[in-house]
């Protein structure tokens, strides 16, 4: 049974070459190959399996001298690393054995059952390979036949390198040492990584932002609300080396933290409260999912648990009913209830959406590219796409309006040719892409629970990196990977590869290479690296711990002013973070600020959404007679998080400030600057109401104009006005008085001015 031994040898060497552990698909294929060879039961060397003997013995060196050159010259221009027509790569051993979108192309030991030979010999121009070129010479085809019949031997030395093993984000997460930088500036390991890079570029970090700016930054980033007057006073009077840390701990414990960061997650979850498409019916229970997200984040539920509940809560053995609503994550798909809609078409669209969103949110992969054909750039074949699709392929949409605790019923899955649900191809079983780690199954057939646990296994190369990058971008304006939605070959490389791995390793609970305490304190950073311990880092998967680590860093605390000569020329986009970035705030936060400063804000938590009143002129229009915002409901001054999300009719103010419409997963919000925004802040009736309330509040605060101006700046911007700024407002007061405005109108006008400032709607 030398033939069998030979294949076993291939199997072993292939698995050594691949990311560990070995891949299930490959195992299956190799087993099939072994069985195929075994059936011939050939002993005494590698010989042609053809009993007729019209082929000579295939010599091992023939592969290198004849077969491989043929593959390279005639096949890989279309079936190689660059182009993978039909999902097939013939440039490496593993991919050649694996086959393409339509299955294996060769069966070692059996040329007559090998598609490769059939395609080389075909008389049909549309099928014969190489497509559109002259066919191979008969003796070349004969060489392929003999090679396959001999068991398709392929020496290790020529096995070939695949992209998967070299692309940074597909490799196991590294546990880099913290760079030893001799400088007083770093407060944490994060700073050491950043400073090390800056120094090599001749850049210097900015000094700390002044205390008012830092206070407002932390309030906006962690809670989405500006600091109140007493909070400003308290912080400005606080002293002590750890006053910032104490402030951060207080903010992390606030229930507004979950509202702020829950919204970031709801963007990813394409959360909305209606079906979308033509009828766009209401989903009256959708808010329960929103509340679960905010509560889980406030409770600092580990990101691993948070993931498993959302993707597979219905499959867990111990199901807590309070967490079952988490599966609402994938019920946020659109649903077309139009009379003429094809139910199967829109059901499959929803399954594709679940597949694509899972890929984007947890793995930073653009899986939707593989819906119609194998991914052009990333190592995801069309068949692998439908293997992931199979996890989500279930019957559930018919009961969409029911309580979100239904179990998904699995369906058999077939590949969709060209992505068309009417053209079903080969059956596929649930599975994960071959370039990623093995999937551990509880039973013989993997299910969504296995998939969810696989995603949050600490050794998954993508989940940790993608998650820390998503959190990072909300604190520094841009991810360490500037394309947080794409960690594949066409994504941007990370600006700080070691830092993202260091953070991802911490977050995923991988033991770190360095002696660093749980807060990421830099004290041990320059110590000699020790052996990684096997115990997971405390605080694994804790978002609060990671956010705390980031916001107490010197890097986060920097001033955002672009005021140092030379720096912008070296690094115009500030990728190396030699200052903080200014961030135009999100739509909901712009509204929250207006409500908070005017004293109107209703801070109650959770529950059904509100529908703020729309301007009467809008309500009276014919075109809106049937729209959802006709009637206001709920308390209108609640936070933007609670504004009803209707997919086909986003709340106009939010649409103006780039709020998501819930039709697709939003990983990066745009931060546009438009005239519509100006008109909204100047004239929208809801903002106008805030202006008048703020004006009234200013008048009641003191009788002294100068004091009122000071309060206006403090409440809106968290700081005192400069003399020039105060003079501009006092001049405005005079001009309005000259124009005959009443006192309340004058101060409402001051409020209108303040709420329209760029600084008011910017996190500096």
């Amino acid at each position: 049974m030398v033939g069998v031994d030979r294949i076993t040898a291939i199997s072993t060497s292939v698995s050594n070459h691949l990311p560990n552990p070995m891949l299930p698909q490959l195992k299956a294929i190799l087993c099939a190959a072994i069985i195929a060879i075994g059936a011939f039961a050939i002993a005494g060397g590698i010989v042609s399996a053809d009993p007729g003997g019209n082929g000579a013995e295939f010599l091992p060196e023939e592969f290198a001298s004849h077969v491989l050159p043929l593959l390279r010259m005639r096949c890989v221009s279309c079936h190689g690393q660059e182009k993978r027509e039909g999902g097939l790569r013939l440039d490496t051993r593993r991919t050649t054995l694996l086959g393409g979108d339509n299955g294996p192309v060769l069966q070692p030991g059996s040329s007559e059952n090998s598609e490769l030979i059939a395609r080389l010999r075909s008389q049909d121009d549309a099928r014969r390979m190489p497509l559109g070129e002259s066919s191979l010479e008969p003796e070349q085809i004969e060489r392929f036949r003999r090679w396959i019949d001999a068991g398709a031997p392929w020496p290790d030395a020529l096995a070939g390198q695949e992209v998967a093993s070299t692309h940074w984000s597909f490799r196991p997460i590294d546990r880099p040492a913290v760079p030893a930088v001799r400088d007083a500036w770093p407060r944490s390991a994060v700073d050491s990584f950043l400073l090390d890079r800056q120094r090599r570029q001749g850049l210097h970090p900015a000094s700390d932002a002044d205390r008012p700016m830092l206070l407002r930054r932390l309030h906006l980033d962690l809670l989405g609300l500006p600091p109140a007057a007493d909070e400003i006073e308290e912080y400005l009077n606080a002293t002590g080396p750890d006053d910032c840390e104490r402030l951060v701990d207080r903010l992390l414990a606030s229930h507004h933290f979950g509202e702020r960061w829950g919204k970031h997650w709801l963007d990813l979850a394409r959360f909305a409260e209606s079906d979308g498409y033509e009828n766009d019916n209401l989903r009256p229970n959708a808010w329960r999912f929103r509340d679960w997200v905010t509560r889980s984040i406030n409770d600092d539920m580990g990101f691993d648990e948070f993931t498993v509940w959302q993707l597979a809560g219905d499959l867990r053995e111990q199901t807590e009913s309070s967490n079952l609503v988490a599966t609402g994550f994938h019920r946020n798909t659109l649903y077309n209830s139009a009379g003429g809609a094809d139910k199967e078409e829109f059901r499959t669209k929803a399954v594709k959406d679940r597949t694509a969103v899972t890929g984007a949110v947890w793995m930073g992969l653009t899986l939707n590219c593989a819906e119609c054909h194998s991914h052009k750039y990333d190592p995801v074949s069309q068949r692998e796409y439908y293997q992931l699709y199979a996890f989500f392929n279930s019957t559930d949409d018919d009961q969409f309006q029911d309580a979100p605790t239904l179990r998904f019923l699995e369906r058999p899955t077939r590949l969709h040719r060209r992505g068309n649900f009417l053209e079903l191809g080969a059956p596929v079983d649930p599975g994960v892409p071959a370039f990623l780690p093995d999937l551990l199954m509880r039973n013989s057939r993997p299910d969504r629970l296995d998939l969810a646990r696989w995603l949050v296994s600490p050794h998954h190369p993508l989940t940790g990196r993608v998650a820390v990058n998503q959190l990072w971008q909300h604190l520094f304006a841009r991810g360490l990977v500037a394309t947080p939605e794409n960690f594949g070959l066409r994504g941007e490389p990370p600006s700080h590869p070691e830092l993202i791995d260091w953070l991802a390793a911490r977050f995923a609970g991988l033991p770190l290479a360095n002696v660093v305490d749980s807060a990421g304190d830099v004290n041990g950073a320059s110590a000699t690296p020790t052996q990684p311990s096997s115990a997971p880092t405390p605080g694994a998967w804790s978002r609060k711990a990671l956010i705390r680590l980031l916001v107490v860093s010197s890097s986060y605390r920097q001033s955002s002013a672009n005021d140092r000569p030379g720096h912008a020329e070296i690094d115009p986009e500030n990728r190396l973070l030699w200052r903080q970035n200014r961030i135009r705030l999100e739509a909901e936060i712009v509204r929250d600020i207006a409500l908070a400063t005017s004293g109107l804000l209703d801070t109650s938590l959770g529950g059904p959404s509100i529908q703020p009143t729309l301007p009467k002129v809008l309500r009276d229009l014919d075109e809106l007679k049937n729209e959802r915002f006709q009637e206001s409901s709920g308390r209108p001054y609640r936070r933007g998080l609670y504004v009803h999300m209707q997919r086909t009719y986003p709340y106009p103010m939010f649409a103006a400030f780039d709020g998501p419409d819930g039709n697709a997963c939003t990983i990066v919000r745009d931060r546009s600057i438009t005239a519509t925004q100006a008109l909204t802040l100047l004239n929208d009736p809801a903002i106008d109401e805030c202006c008048r309330a703020l004006g009234q509040r200013l008048m009641e605060s003191t009788a002294d104009d100068s004091g009122r101006v000071r309060h206006a700046f403090e409440w809106c911007l968290g700081r005192a006005p400069s003399p020039a700024e105060e003079e501009i407002i006092r001049q405005l007061v005079r001009q309005q008085q000259e124009a005959g405005a009443s006192e309340s109108l004058v101060w409402a006008g001051v409020a209108r001015t303040m709420l329209n400032l760029d600084e008011t709607i910017t996190r500096e």
Binding site: Y277, E485, N562, A724, D758
Partner: protein, 487 residues
């Protein structure tokens, strides 16, 4: 026409900015500002379009454009090619007979049950019109009179057979939400030539398209390329009006204070986005006067108003007014105007409803083409009759007579284009003998979009946007320019 990038021209605002930057903040700054205001410079300075100040110029044009503006009339609901644009004498012979089963393979329907339906000829006469002799339905006498300007495509096709997906397919190139609409692509590619109005405007009557804001959405393009919904009634733009009790002088004083405070902040943080913000406020202020001026049609002659049919009652008059407003917008530089008009979804009572719809749109559309032509604007303005799909040759809801209707049919339908570099007086493509399938020269949505971009000097393969790490485009990975449509 290389000079169409007028939004890149240096504006007095930039000059003013430089002046302030040199002078800096403080008392001198205030004294200067006062001085300038007294001279009327602050309040009346022309403005730069916000796009002009955003880093990274737009990617186009790639070649000499033929069209500079587009008026895209979208007849939502699905116009019947068989009753308006594509005469089928053979269908008259087969009227009342069952459809041969071979036509049903691979075809889906929304509501119709093909086994219970029969073929239905159009009850309307078709006549050759113009010098070119293209046949149009008697229901569209006005549009027929423009036959020599029109390139009629009788072979449009795609696969989306419901309304919202069909609208999205035609307007964004994909039958699912999330992609930028045509107008967003064009303003992204070419910028906004208007200094006082947005570059992409949508007008609606009735309830507009079912895809709602996605029909003029920016998709994954930045928000500044989103179409602005201009309302034909009341306030033309949402939040355009200053609250009633704020006097114009007080309003201007507040805007000045906002600008001055933003400038101080800009001098401190040295962030170019502050300039963009300041320019956006200037554009908003300009729009507060230019938008009401735009919709104030009191300066139009009686003859013009009558030609568009503005005196007509109800929604007829609204559509007439929208057509006139479209011309006024193009005159003022707006790049892309979409007019949505509903509804053509005639599943039953086709005869009564299609007559009413044609009455509503025929006169104003013909008037628009003639008006543009008379003003020398048709050459650079592309006018499109678009819809999400055509309708079936078989009946729905009744076998014949007044109650009969037609179902959705995306496999073969008709649209047309005029002006803006289109060779008028031609028919492109054809359908089979019952208007069911493409007979020759099929035009897919991607081909249509590639052609439209080409007219604007844009290569559909080069007009890309980096989204999720991929260079994406309107035409996905397909589409080719239909060169026979070009003048």
């Amino acid at each position: 026409m290389a000079g169409t990038n007028d939004h890149r021209m240096p504006s007095p605002l930039l000059t003013r900015r430089n002046f302030f930057t040199r002078v800096g903040g403080g008392a001198g700054f205030l004294a200067l500002a006062t001085l300038l205001r007294q001279e009327g410079l602050l309040a009346s300075a022309p403005l730069a379009s916000p796009t002009a100040l955003v880093p990274g110029a737009q990617p186009g044009p790639h070649h000499e454009p033929r069209a500079r503006h587009c008026i895209f009339i979208f007849l939502a609901g699905g116009t019947s090619h068989l009753d308006l644009f594509d005469p089928k004498p053979r269908l008259r012979e087969l009227d009342g007979q069952p459809i041969p089963p071979s036509f049903l393979q691979g075809v889906r329907f929304s509501f119709v049950k093909p086994q219970q339906s029969v073929l239905m000829a159009s009850p309307y006469a078709f006549h050759p019109r113009g010098e070119c002799g293209t046949s149009f339905s008697e229901l569209l006498p006005g549009i027929g009179s423009c036959a020599d300007d029109i390139a009629l495509i009788r072979s449009m096709h795609h696969a989306a057979f419901d309304h919202a997906p069909g609208e999205l397919e035609m307007l964004t190139g994909r039958d699912q939400p999330g992609r930028p609409s045509l107008g967003a692509w064009l303003t992204y590619g070419l910028g906004n030539p208007s200094h006082e109005l947005p570059g992409f405007v949508a007008l609606i009557n009735h309830r507009g398209p079912v895809a709602r804001a996605m029909a003029w959405g920016n998709g994954y393009l930045p928000g500044r390329y989103q179409g602005m919904l201009l309302r034909g009634q009341g306030e033309p733009i949402l939040n355009l009006q200053t609250p009633a009790d704020i006097a114009p002088r007080a309003h201007r004083a507040q805007l000045d204070a906002i600008e001055q405070l933003n400038r101080i902040r800009g001098a401190q943080s040295i962030d170019p986005e502050l300039e963009t913000r300041i320019a956006a406020y200037e554009l908003a202020f300009q729009m507060q006067s230019s938008a009401p001026e735009l919709i104030d049609i009191s300066g139009e002659t009686q003859a013009t108003l009558q030609s568009y049919g503005l005196e007509r009652p109800g929604q007829q008059g609204v559509f007439s007014r929208n057509c006139l407003l479209a011309r006024r917008m193009v005159e003022r530089g707006v790049r892309f105007v979409t007019l949505f008009q509903r509804t053509w979804d005639h599943h039953k009572k086709l005869d009564a409803d299609i007559r009413a719809q044609c009455r509503e749109v025929d006169q104003p559309i013909a008037a628009l083409i003639n008006d543009l032509k008379a003003r020398g604007m048709l050459e650079s303005t592309l006018v499109v009759w678009g819809t999400e799909f055509g309708r079936t040759a078989i009946t729905e809801n009744a076998s014949s007579g007044r109650d009969a209707g037609r179902d959705h049919h995306p496999h073969c339908f008709s649209i047309w284009m005029a002006g803006g570099g289109i060779r008028g007086g031609q028919v492109f493509g054809s359908s089979d003998e019952i208007g069911w399938r493409i007979a020759e020269n099929g035009v897919h949505t991607h081909d249509f979009h590639a052609t439209l971009l080409h007219l604007f000097g844009l290569d559909h393969k080069r007009l890309t946007y980096r989204h999720r790490g991929l260079d994406v485009r309107l035409t996905d990975v397909a589409g080719s320019v239909v060169s026979r449509l070009l003048a």
